[in-house]
Symmetry: C2
Subunit: 217 residues, 2 copies
């Protein structure tokens, strides 16, 4: 989905995963974490943790573990999550509303600065997060004014590509698309298409295998 | 996250991805698709498509392509998405409501048979999909009565593990967890933890690289 990266995407996704239990360990006052412990907390194997972290040079001390604070700081630096990002969202149905109120997004520095919809019945509604739903025709103006970097799309499928084009034209550089259709962007931008039903397909594949192994046992 | 599979998870996830444009191609009357075309439609490289499909034996004809109908049927058989699955969902906030109404879930055979919440203000509400929100204390009874196989969790973080235990105890075999915390299940069950903010971390990593390449250009 993304272009020109040397570190594999699955590693990048796992680095983000590793940061979750690290935050919890630091909050609970644990200074050192072993690759085994971190791996168990994330549901991956320890060799995978060591391999992923090795992409970024030397971390930790053999036989002791990683300094949790250092490791988290380094992961955030690598992922560029050590700063705040400005987001807007287009499509204020239930999914849009759940994302804009998501406490984890805010905690990690992903800040929604504008919310858009084309439905006149929704425009003007004040959301619990403090934003007011703006009409889609103001995308261009507000993206520029608020220096929005990332656009999140939660529209119906048939509107997603048009909204993508609008956002990019206004100056957004990256799109996270939840509409159930792949959207396309030129080479000079980043797009990630998220299809929530794909997660279920992965799940039922393994569930079917579980049923079969139970039957043959 | 899942146990005992021979085919790598990324391949399984890509098979689900491949099925999306195949559905569209078949609807538009295209009988044959090349690995190049399919790869372009999914944003992966053609060698990856061929490699993924090779896990399942011989498909397609060299230099011609794949029969779209055959390929889709075979992918659905492999993923066990050629039958219907019974789901329930716990946590009827905005995310829960968006998933339960998701047209793509229904189209692909993921059928929600029950929706639960512990908030007395939500219990009894009739949803657009036709379900009525049931109290969480009825999980055990309804999971058994309706033969629910998969539980989807969209509760706040602090309730997710308790709800997971309740669902498994009632007979659910697989959990798709959207709460912002990892939940744990015994070996005899399947769990997939979905963290939506991980997708953003992947995105900003690539966005930061894009900014750097623009600066140095």
């Amino acid at each position: 989905m993304t272009k020109g990266s040397k570190i594999p995407n699955p590693t990048i996704e796992r680095l983000a995963l590793y940061s979750r239990p690290l935050e919890a360990l630091i909050e609970s006052g644990t200074p050192i974490v072993s690759s085994e412990r971190l791996a168990a907390l994330c549901g991956v194997n320890p060799a995978q943790v060591r391999k992923d972290l090795a992409y970024f040079g030397e971390f930790g001390v053999r036989g002791v573990g990683y300094d949790a604070q250092d490791l988290l700081r380094e992961i955030k630096r690598i992922l560029s999550t050590d700063r705040e990002w400005t987001l807007c969202i287009v499509g204020m149905g239930n999914l849009g509303r759940s994302l804009v109120e998501n406490e984890n997004f805010r905690k990690r520095g992903y800040l929604f600065f504008a919310a858009f919809d084309s439905d006149t019945k929704k425009i003007g509604i004040r959301l619990p997060c403090g934003l007011t739903i703006e009409p889609a025709r103001k995308i261009r103006e507000l993206v520029r004014e608020l220096k929005i970097e990332i656009g999140v799309i939660t529209t119906p499928a048939h509107e997603a590509q048009r909204v993508t084009d609008l956002l990019l034209d206004a100056g957004v550089k990256a799109i996270l698309n939840f509409a159930p259709i792949q959207v396309w962007t030129p080479e000079c931008s980043i797009v990630e298409n998220v299809d929530l039903s794909v997660k279920l397909e992965n799940l039922v594949y393994h569930l079917e295998r579980l049923y079969k192994s139970e039957k043959s046992a």
